[in-house]
């Protein structure tokens, strides 16, 4: 027999292993964002308002390069479109909830909360308290993200520039991308996006990132569709 309380705590507990990876990620963001020219208050506000780790990193990096706001917004938007897929896959389970619950859970819908919540929903289809599980997982991540970015911002001022800490950002991206290269089409998507980003590097307004991303997505898609047709 589950209650809202047990489900909430269960969600928090299941999120714990993911939090271990979130802390260094948040710390690095907190160190990096002020170094990119974002005042500490705005850097922390971004963790609350945007609440999407990789988008926050990308915004900070583009701001550091002097990119105009519209291009920053466009690039962050492209990166976050993937959340639509999470929203679609959770929608069948959240249909009966009140509007407040839907908005709250949508706000907390990150890669990390989705991964945990969807597996719970798929295991316990008739469970009436599973939204509390989702809330527990999402809130655990939210609190961890806010505290770790705040700690990073606090520590950031003490790190000397000669440590090249800004290089931790592409390293973080490498750590996120490489394990997800599981098939031919995603490897091709990554390589073609990388190549186009280099070739288009001198495009104005850092448009090279958006152009390269679209090229990578197109290449991945073409490779994925082809074998399906010939089969």
């Amino acid at each position: 027999m589950t209650t809202p309380r047990t489900e909430f705590l269960h969600g928090m507990r299941d999120e714990l292993p993911i939090l271990i990876g979130t802390v260094p990620f948040g710390l690095i963001y907190g160190v990096f964002a002020p170094g990119a020219g974002i005042p500490p208050l705005i850097a922390q506000a971004m963790s609350c308002i945007v609440f999407a780790g990789s988008a926050q990193f990308v915004i900070a990096q583009l701001v550091a390069a002097g990119t105009p706001a519209l291009i920053v917004i466009l690039t962050a938007f492209i990166l976050n479109i993937r959340h639509m897929l999470y929203s679609a896959s959770l929608a069948p389970f959240t249909g009966k909830l009140s509007r407040l619950w839907k908005w709250l859970l949508a706000y907390l819908l990150t890669d990390e909360a989705y991964a945990v919540a969807i597996s719970r929903y798929q295991k316990a289809r008739d469970e009436e308290h599973t939204h509390w599980y989702f809330l527990g997982a999402g809130l655990a991540l939210w609190i961890t993200w806010q505290l770790s970015t705040a700690a990073g911002i606090f520590l950031g001022g003490q790190v000397p520039a000669s440590w090249s800490l800004d290089f931790a950002l592409p390293l973080t991206f490498i750590a996120l991308v490489v394990p997800s290269l599981k098939d031919r089409s995603s490897i091709a998507a990554a390589l073609s996006a990388a190549l186009v980003a280099l070739l288009a590097f001198s495009l104005p307004l850092k448009l090279s990132i958006a152009v390269a991303a679209l090229a990578g997505i197109a290449v991945g898609l073409v490779l994925e569709i082809k074998p399906a047709r010939s089969a």
């Binding site: 971004m46 706001a69 976050n80 897929l85 592409p170 990388a194």
Partner: protein, 110 residues
């Protein structure tokens, strides 16, 4: 960017992101994502992040450096190897940073 534009940027991105996350949960709960779009979305993180990684390794200071004196490139390649073998975020970052700092101490600055 001025603080005002930074605020505008993060608020607009925040609203767009919330809208994306709400899309199916709150507004389109009977709709289905077209299979083609679903397949395309899978490649978004890989493509965007790769587009950010490549210039950081090959064009570290604004000029293309295709040689073994490019410490960013060497450290990045090591990090790719570590990420591939261990799938560990922290270990990848530590290995890449250590490699960069050691190489920068050894190699002459370009």
């Amino acid at each position: 960017m001025s603080p005002l534009w930074l605020w505008i940027t993060i608020i607009v991105v925040g609203l767009l992101t919330l809208g994306i996350r709400l899309s199916f949960i709150a507004f389109l709960d009977r709709a289905q994502v077209a299979p083609l779009l679903q397949q395309a979305l899978r490649f978004v993180p890989v493509a965007v992040l790769s587009a950010l990684i490549a210039p950081a390794l090959f064009i570290p200071n604004g000029t293309l450096i295709l040689s073994f004196t490019n410490s960013h490139l060497l450290a990045g390649l090591l990090a790719i190897l570590v990420a591939w073998r261990t799938k560990n975020i922290l270990l990848t970052i530590i290995a890449g940073m250590a490699c960069l700092l050691i190489l920068q101490a050894l190699l002459p600055a370009h």
